[in-house]
């Protein structure tokens, strides 16, 4: 299993991505826990999934 390294669009943290990654797969950034959707594979392109808001304090 070969892997590649990419940078998280949200936090600039390193993402290790293995080659078997598929379109629409959702990855989790270890730095900021953003969910990143694979929107293209060659070359690899990641898009931020929408954030889940917490509704506290009112």
């Amino acid at each position: 299993m070969t892997t590649a390294t990419q940078t998280c669009p949200e936090c600039d943290g390193a993402l290790t991505i293995n080659d078997s990654v598929r379109m629409s797969e959702v990855l989790e950034c270890p730095g900021c826990r953003s969910e990143l959707e694979v929107v293209a594979t060659a070359p690899l392109l990641l898009a931020l999934a929408p954030e889940v808001e917490e509704d506290w304090g009112e």
């Binding site: 808001e53 506290w56 304090g57």
Partner: protein, 341 residues
């Protein structure tokens, strides 16, 4: 007796409205609306009301004529109910966030959805007796502010109105778990929420818009969930305006609040409880406010505390109702809080 219908009666604010109205000498609760529990006894959800009432919940459709409608439902659901009830009742008091902001754009920005009744925004009187008592006497639509917003705006308004403070204010809000209502989310599970110091809004909490609107200040807000069920505290950090001093601040509060029945100034030099703290306010309608200056600097810290379900919601609504009806403001609101607690 004035007949009151309460929507959202199975929620935390709704339950507190019921508690207060059941102990009120001039009101009668004629409908307690819940979609989840129609036909069930009110005290099956709110066990503190066990001997206070035999009332049962009803569906929204079953609500008949009444004098006052109180909305204690989530924002967005309130808009629809307002449309439906505004013309059918003498007085409607909304406790949700739907009619707090004057500006429909600000609503969109802070609530993430478009406002569905922007034409009604101007018809609501803010449910803040300390700032809008006269308008409240004749109001037909009242919008009660958010819990931390109430603490923040009551804390900041007097010095702001007298231009004693610089424009940018940082409001640090701390809240107990009842602030997020009776909905069991993952983060509200006891084992997760217990002992929390959870910065759930490091920047841009919704209530900053409300505080800004009522004080004219540039408000930035951070909010943290701390270990408590009830209770809200705000610590406001700002700077004195050029020429202003701490004495003037003190005078501003005195002038604004010395006759207010539910505001107490608390900045003590001795004792255990020197600044406002929610735990001794639980169940009471007080908002305690204190302030401190940093010697040899222009820094000003203002602290306020209240029970989010009372002065931060249901109690404030009842106080507004009392003002509107010309009743003594303390009707139904005489409980002073407990110590120790």
């Amino acid at each position: 007796m004035i007949r009151v219908a309460v929507f959202g009666a199975a929620g935390y604010i709704g339950g507190e409205v019921l508690r207060l109205l059941l102990g009120h000498p001039e009101t009668e609760v004629t409908a307690a609306v819940s979609s989840r529990f129609p036909g069930k006894r009110v005290d099956s959800v709110h066990p503190n009301l066990r001997s206070a009432t035999d009332l049962t919940f009803c569906d929204a459709e079953q609500v008949t004529e009444c004098d006052v409608v109180l909305l204690a439902t989530p924002h967005r659901s309130a808009m629809a109910l307002v449309r439906q009830w505004a013309s059918r009742t003498e007085l409607l008091i909304d406790l949700s966030g739907d009619f707090r902001l004057r500006d429909a754009d600000a609503y969109k920005r802070y609530y993430g959805v478009a406002h569905e009744a922007p034409e009604l925004l101007d018809s609501f009187v803010p449910g803040i007796p300390e700032l809008h008592r006269d308008e409240l006497r004749t109001a037909r639509l009242i919008s009660v502010p958010g819990c931390m917003a109430t603490a923040g705006l009551l804390a900041l308004r007097p010095p702001a109105a007298r231009r004693l403070i610089a424009s940018r204010v940082l409001v640090d809000g701390r809240t107990g778990s009842s602030g997020s209502g009776a909905t069991a989310g993952e983060g509200n599970l006891h084992a997760e929420r217990s002992g929390a110091m959870r910065v759930f809004a490091p920047v841009a909490h919704r209530h900053e818009a409300e505080i800004a609107q009522h004080t004219g200040l540039d408000v930035r807000m951070t909010a943290t969930g701390v270990e408590a069920v009830r209770g809200v505290q705000v610590v406001c950090h700002t700077e004195l305006a050029p020429g202003a001093d701490h004495r003037a601040v003190r005078a501003a509060y005195r002038e604004a609040y010395s006759d207010e029945p539910f505001i107490r100034m608390v900045s003590h030099k001795r004792g255990v409880y020197r600044y406002p703290e929610p735990k001794i306010l639980l169940g009471s309608n007080f908002c305690d406010i204190g302030h401190a200056a940093d010697e040899g600097s222009d820094r000003l810290v203002v602290i306020a505390a209240l029970d989010n379900l009372v002065k931060g919601g249901a109690g404030n609504a009842v106080q507004c109702l009392n003002v509107r009806m010309g009743w003594p403001e303390s009707y139904g609101l005489s409980f002073p809080g407990l110590h120790p607690m």
